[in-house]
Structure formats: structure tokens, C-alpha cells
Amino acid sequence: MSTSLLLLLIVVIGFIAYFAGRARSLAQSGGKLSNLHSLPGYHGSYVAIWAMLPAALVLGTWLIAAPIYIDGSTRAALPDTVQSQGGAAVQLALGQVKSVAGGLLRLSGEELSALENGSANLRSTLASKGVALAGEGEPYMVTVAQHFNAMTVANRWLMTAAVLLVAIAGGIYAIRNVATRFRARNQVERVILGSLIVASSIAILTTVGIVASMLSEAGRFFTMVSPFEFFFGTVWDPRFAAAGSGGASGQFGLLPLLAGTLYIAFVAMLFAVPIGLFAAIYMAEYANPRLRSTAKPLLEVLAGIPTIVYGFFALVTVGPFLRDISAQLNGLATGNYQNFIQAQSVVTAGIVMGIMLIPFVSSLSDDIITQVPRALRDGSLGLGATRSETVKKVILPAALPGIVGALLLTASRAVGETMIVVLAAGVAARMQINPFEPMTTVTVKIVNQLTGDLEFTSPQTLVAFALGITLFVITLGLNIYALYIVRKYREQYE
């Protein structure tokens, strides 16, 4: 019986259990609901939970444990000659046995017996059934594959039997508990609370998953390339993962990527911060409600546009525009119509990313500026300061910690941004200070190293995880510090 059918059966049993429990509690109440401690629905749910939850748990464990056991047993059934060749050979043989096993199921009786007594070629017989073998099959594989098939079938029956048994036993146990004074609601609510806790622990699990997966993969990378070389190397030249090259052939220097990342983020912030901040000040302090209620959502549309669209915008509009305008300027100045801004460059990526960041800066700062107490503002205006003086001398200093926090949050976004830089910044990892030349970033290189055919043993692929953990640590640091500042600031004025 297939797993999905089994799941369906469990649900059906659960439904039956629900109605059975409900009916029983109604019967016990003797027609007066007030005799019951819990409503009939809770009794029904209680029985249904007992019927479904243990069965589902058994099913889940079985699905994880059984393949491990079957693999182990099949491995043990392989002949000693294979066993003695070590892990990789056993793994290979196991894979072949499994595909043979899949093929055997499609054979007719005569073909099977021909295979068993060795008169037919394994590979060609299976190939005629559409099962391709990686190598020439060995005779022992047929017996092991049959063993494997027998175990799979037995496993499936055992699993079905066990799960159904547990479901029915659970249901019967629970239905016997149903009584007028039985606290079914409390039991059901305890299960619900448990599931709420499980749901909220997923957030923790995600973080643990991120850190653990990246650390383990990055750890494998650092066994091939020394951390010192990675963190302080000034050359990024990973080469290709050539077959047979074995170890680290390229150079994996983080610094050029980090320089590009920070440079582009800096240009983006240089563009976004003044515009965003002034927009926020104007909207918080000057704008009438009508302007505010149209301009603010419109600016926030910029935050809702997917970054791939910004990348495209950089690619077809901003990049070519900067290239052409620089050629014109150069031509006017020197007579040589040669562009000095490349289409893919630090400024292109920086400006487009800056546009994306404007709404982040403006709405975060807007929130913080409006949180400054009215009394501060009124006091300053009452003393005769103009509005701009109030903003500059009173509101901004009061809001400064919060704004710094907002800017740090924005910066962490700029550092982690991917699609814009993939399309607009270029792929050349260089350390230079000319903003009109292309540079590349950590995120671009993660994408570059991980698209295409992958082999998870080469440093060329694993370096992406080392880059990822670096990125994660940088943004995490920025976020934690920013959230700390913003939180502290909020408490100050609450």
C-alpha cells in the first residue's frame, strides 16, 4: 500500500473516530449536554487525535528508519569481494542493485529464471525493459536484488499493518475513556498548545539550519583551503573544478569580493540616504496629509518591486545611459568620444540599488521622526526657531540613534542584495577604487559558483558556503546592532 493511500486511510479513521467519540459522549450525556464536562465536539476531537497522531508518528519514524535498515541489510548481503573494496565500491554496487531490483519487477517469469540460472545477459535484458544499468551487471546482483525486493515488499506490508493497528488501537483506547466527567477539552487543548510550540520552534530551527548547514559545508571547504588564505587572500581566481585536479587549484581570496560589496553598498547608501532622509523629513514635518497619503505609498511601491526588475532596469537603461553620457562628456572635454563609465560598473549597481533603498530609508526614518514627542517640537517652535532649525537642532539629534539603526538595517540589505549586482555590477573580481569600473560582490560569486553542474566535493562549489557564512555574519551583526539601537530608542520615548 502506498504511503499517500495510507495517509488517506489514517485521515478516514480519524473522521470515523471523531464521529464515534462525539456519538458516544452524546449517548452518555443522556440527552442533557450539561451533564458533560466537555462539549461533544471535544470528545470527538480527543478520540480522533488518539487515532491519528500516534499512527502518523509511527508512519513518520518508519519512513525514515526502514530505508536505513533495508540499505544496511542489503549491504550486508553483498558478497565479501565487494565488501572488501571499501565504501565507495559498496555504495556503487548498492546503487546498481537497486536499479536491478527496479528492473526485475518488470520482467516476466521466464526472463527472470533465465537471469537466475545465468543464461541471459543482465544488462541487455533490463535495457529491453527500459532500465539502463551503469555497468555490466554481476550475477550476484540478481540474488541481492531479489533479497532487496522481498524486503521492500515485506516492509510495506509490515508498515501498513503497524500503522493501521496503532490507529485503531489508539481510537479504541480513547473511546473507552469518553465519559460524562472526562476532561476531553483540556486534553485536546494540551495537544493544540503542543503544536503551537512546535510551530514557533521552526523559527529557531531555521536559524540552526542556516548556521549548521553553512558551517559544515564551509568547514569542508576550510579543510581544503586554509582560512587564512580565504579571509586575507587578495586574489579571487577559483578556476574550474577540473576532473582529476584533486585539490585546491585556484585562489580563493575574499578581500576583492568584500571590497566590491562594501564599495557598491557605500555608493548605494550615498545615493539613498540623503534622498530618503530628506523625503522622510519633508513627509513627517512639512507635507499636508493629502500629499503624505499619496507620496508615501507611491515611494513604498519602490520597495515592492522585485529586485530582478531593478536589475533589468540597470541593464537596459541606467548602464547604457551612464556609458553614453560619459562618452559625450569625455568627447566635449577632450574630443575623444570614449566612454569612461562602463555599462556594468560600481556606480550603475550603486545608483540602482540606491533607488531600491530610498523607501527603506524614508519609511524607517519617517516612523522614527514621528515618534519624537510633540513637546520637543512645540518647545523649539515656541522659542522662535524656524521649522528647519527645529528639525536640524532638535528633532534630528533626538531621533539620531533611531535613524542610525534604520540606516544600519538598510546597509545590511544593501550588502545582501543579489539580483541587482548580478546584472549590473559585473563578474570581474578586482581591487580598485575607480567607481566607473566593474567590481563584483560576495553575492554575485555565490550565484556564480552554484549555478550549473555541481559537484559537492570541490572547493570551487564549497567556497559558496564560506562566502555565505561571511555574508550571514556581516548582516547578522548589522541587524542585531540596529535592532538593539532601535529598541532602545523606542523605549526612550514610550
Binding site: 514557533s200 523559527a203 507620496a295 533589468f312 524656524t386 532649525e389 545582501g416
Partner: protein, 440 residues
């Protein structure tokens, strides 16, 4: 402006106050400058928004039209099945020389001398190479068509399409452009005969990936995105709501819940590409799920969307006044009943708004999907989330990397489709908020 300027005039008119110069003129000038900066900042932001949208729309609206050529194709048996084996050998119909049919029809239509090879080649280049599969599918679906002459609408080749839409500058020297003068003459000739015309491009909505712009569409990618959104919705809404209920209503105030809280805020700000790395390492490498499958993409986007939904849900739960809770508890409801029967329904509009915004964000996300192998050339509709598929923004990314002019148009068209989806979702969220939002 006048009300600011007038006191300045008055002050300078009185000589007595000139002694105590508090720099009012300078200060008001600074005030005006400051205001101007603010207006300029907002205008710059809005200008870039307009420029962005204009770029996309002006490049992309033409993608919704496609030039087609309707030719009477003669399905001659001699070409399709010269040996008369189609009833016995199924491969005959699949591998027949269909382009020849197109060529013959075109030669006839244009009246070219069939022996002039380069001329004939130029003519056949005007029709998309996808015609081959189109004719094949026609014949395979209905073999009785063989021997008849049927008018078939074929896609024009991308460059002809661009030329007919007026996007190719025909004043450029002939050798420097992809459309030859002869082809332009033919194009105009066909257009006058009513054979070649522009029509609404349904292909961009239904086709899959293709290396030929005229046969490329977002249909397959949109289905992949749809699968992922479904998975995200089904997983992240219940989990997110459950987690926020626990954190907001039940969790004791201690170190652990504090940690979870900080954690969720941080997860919301983790770069999306990191989620891609997580998906690659955990779902594909460790759990052995298939690469390029929508199900993995759905899981990754779920993890990414969860913090957004949790934060929105907690805010919505917080906004329900405590008096509701007290009233329910006072009438004898259990805490669980209070929350599920009273608080949650009242918080629902806020929760759904947050969910839609999270979904819209997930729909436009590209970077994590690149890492889990969804940068795939997928031609056929994926039958299930387990099959290789691609997503709308990834399709846009792949097209953006193509050099051809016609792909810029397609990319913009795809972006317009994506933006329309996003606008619909966000409008839904706004309407929901307007319709159901309550001020307590």
C-alpha cells in the same frame, strides 16, 4: 511662499530692528532651501519610480503583439511520407521534413524562383523555426490532413517581428542589421496582401522556454511560480499563525521567548540568498530532494516568508483589545476558546494582509531559486511540484541575459505580467484592510 516673504520685508523696512539683526532673512532662506531639498528628494524618488515603470512598459507593451504569417500550406504526401509508411512506422510523421512545406508555400506566395537558393533561404528565414513543431503537431493530431491544403498561421521570425513593429532602424546600412532589404520588401508585400499581420500574442502566456524569442513565453514559469505560491501559502500561513499565537498569547516572558523573538526579527532581515544556500544544503544535499523542483523552491520561500507573516500576525493579535479577551474569559471560555473563537477571527484581516504581502514578496524573489537549480530550460509544463520547473522571476533573469533585441521586449513583457500579479495581490491586501480594518 508669500506669507514667509512678507515678514522679511516688514523687518527690513523698520530701521530700528536693523540693530538687532537676528538674521531672519538668512534663516528664512535656509528654511526655503530646506523645504526645497525635501520636495526635491520626494520628486527624485517618484521620478525614478516613473522612469522604472516607463522603461518596462515602453519596452514591453509590444511583447503582447506578435507578427504572424498565414500561409496556405499544402500537406503533400510526397514530402511528409514519401514511402507511405506512416501507418506502420510512427516515427515517419515525427521526423518528416515539415520546413520544406513552409518553404514551398512561401516560395509560391512570394513568387520566387525556387532554384535561387540564397533568395529562398532569406525567405524561409522570415518564418520562425518553431513552425516545424507546429506543423508536426497538426499532422500528428489529424493525419487525414495529408494531401489537403490548409491555411496555417505561423509565427514570424523575431527580427521580422521587430522590423514590422518598427523597432529596427531600417536606415542603417544593410550589412549591419539583421533584416535584409529583400526581406523588408517581402514583408511589406505580405502585409499588403493581408497575409502578414500583428495580432494579440497569446504565446507569451502559454509557451515555455525557447531559444527563439518568438516562441518563448512565461506559461511554464508561471505554473512553477503558482506551485510554489501554493506551497508557501499552505505551509506558512498555518505555521506562522500558530507560532505567533504561541508567542503572543501563551509564551512565558523568559530568556527563551526573548531569543525566539530576536531570532525572528533577524530572520526577516537575513539576505534571501542565504535561504537559497540553506535550501541547497538541507533540502537537496541532505534530504535528497530533486533539484529544480518547485517543491524545494516552495519550502525555501516558506522559510523566507515565515518571519514576515509572524511579525504581521503578532501585530494583528496585539491590536485586538484586551477587553474582548476579558469578556470571553469572564463568560467561562477557556483560554484556547477565547483565542480561537474570538481573538483570531478579529485579527484575521490583519493576518491575511500580512500573508498577501509576504506572498507577493516571495513571488518576486529570484536569488534563492537560482541556487536550488531553478535556472532551468524548461519547455514543458511541470505535471507536479516534484518535476523540474522554473519560476517567473527566474525566467525574467534568464531572458535578461539573452543578447537579442527581441528578448528585451519579451523580458519587459514578462516583467509587466509579474508586476500585474503583484499589483493584484497588493490591491487585494489594501482592499482587505480597508474593508475589514477596525479601529478599536
Amino acid at each position: 511662499m508669500t506669507d514667509i516673504a512678507s515678514p522679511t520685508v516688514r523687518i527690513s523696512a523698520r530701521p530700528a530692528s536693523a540693530k538687532r539683526d537676528i538674521g531672519i532673512k538668512r534663516r528664512y532662506a535656509a528654511e526655503r532651501r530646506f523645504r526645497a531639498y525635501g520636495i526635491a528628494a520626494i520628486s527624485i524618488g517618484l521620478f525614478f519610480l516613473a522612469l522604472l515603470l516607463w522603461t518596462v512598459i515602453s519596452n514591453g507593451y509590444t511583447a503582447f503583439q506578435q507578427t504572424t504569417i498565414t500561409l496556405p500550406i499544402e500537406f503533400t504526401e510526397k514530402v511528409i511520407d514519401p514511402k507511405g509508411e506512416r501507418t506502420t512506422d510512427g516515427k515517419v510523421l515525427m521526423t518528416a521534413n515539415y520546413p520544406l512545406l513552409v518553404r514551398e508555400a512561401l516560395v509560391k506566395q512570394l513568387g520566387i524562383d525556387a532554384s535561387k537558393r540564397p533568395l529562398v533561404k532569406q525567405a524561409t528565414d522570415m518564418v520562425s523555426a518553431s513552425s516545424r513543431t507546429l506543423l508536426r503537431d497538426l499532422v500528428v493530431a489529424d493525419p487525414s490532413i495529408i494531401g489537403k491544403t490548409v491555411p496555417v498561421t505561423l509565427l514570424a521570425e523575431a527580427n521580422i517581428d521587430s522590423a514590422y513593429k518598427g523597432q529596427i532602424d531600417l536606415k542603417v546600412e544593410e550589412s549591419k542589421r539583421k533584416v535584409k532589404d529583400q526581406q523588408v520588401t517581402w514583408m511589406n508585400q505580405l502585409a499588403e496582401a493581408g497575409v502578414l499581420k500583428k495580432s494579440f500574442n497569446t504565446g507569451i502566456f502559454t509557451f515555455g522556454a525557447s531559444s527563439r524569442p518568438e516562441a518563448a513565453g512565461v506559461g511554464v514559469a508561471a505554473l512553477g511560480s503558482f506551485y510554489m505560491m501554493l506551497i508557501v501559502l499552505v505551509l506558512s500561513l498555518p505555521i506562522g499563525v500558530a507560532a505567533s499565537i504561541y508567542l503572543e498569547e501563551f509564551a512565558p516572558k523568559n530568556r527563551l521567548t526573548d531569543l525566539i523573538e530576536v531570532n525572528i526579527n533577524n530572520l526577516a532581515a537575513v539576505p534571501s540568498i542565504v535561504y537559497g544556500l540553506l535550501g541547497l544544503a538541507v533540502f537537496i544535499n541532505f534530504a535528497g530532494m530533486p533539484r529544480s523542483a518547485a517543491v524545494v523552491g516552495g519550502f525555501v520561500l516558506t522559510l523566507m516568508t515565515l518571519p514576515t507573516i509572524i511579525i504581521a500576525t503578532r501585530a494583528a493579535l496585539k491590536a485586538v483589545p484586551p477587553s474582548i479577551r476579558s469578556a470571553a474569559l469572564g463568560l467561562g471560555a477557556s483560554k484556547m476558546q477565547t483565542i480561537f473563537h474570538h481573538v483570531l477571527p478579529l485579527a484575521m484581516p490583519g493576518i491575511l494582509t500580512g500573508t498577501i504581502i509576504g506572498l507577493a514578496h516571495a513571488l518576486g524573489e529570484t536569488a534563492p531559486l537560482l541556487l536550488i537549480g531553478m535556472v532551468a530550460f524548461v519547455v514543458d509544463y511541470p505535471g507536479s511540484p516534484m518535476e523540474p520547473s522554473t519560476a517567473l522571476p527566474v525566467q525574467i533573469y534568464m531572458w535578461a541575459n539573452e543578447a537579442e533585441r527581441a528578448f528585451v521586449e519579451r523580458t519587459s513583457g514578462a516583467i509587466i505580467i509579474l508586476l500585474i500579479f503583484l499589483v493584484i495581490m497588493n490591491l487585494g491586501a489594501i482592499l482587505l484592510r480597508r474593508r475589514f480594518e477596525r479601529r478599536w
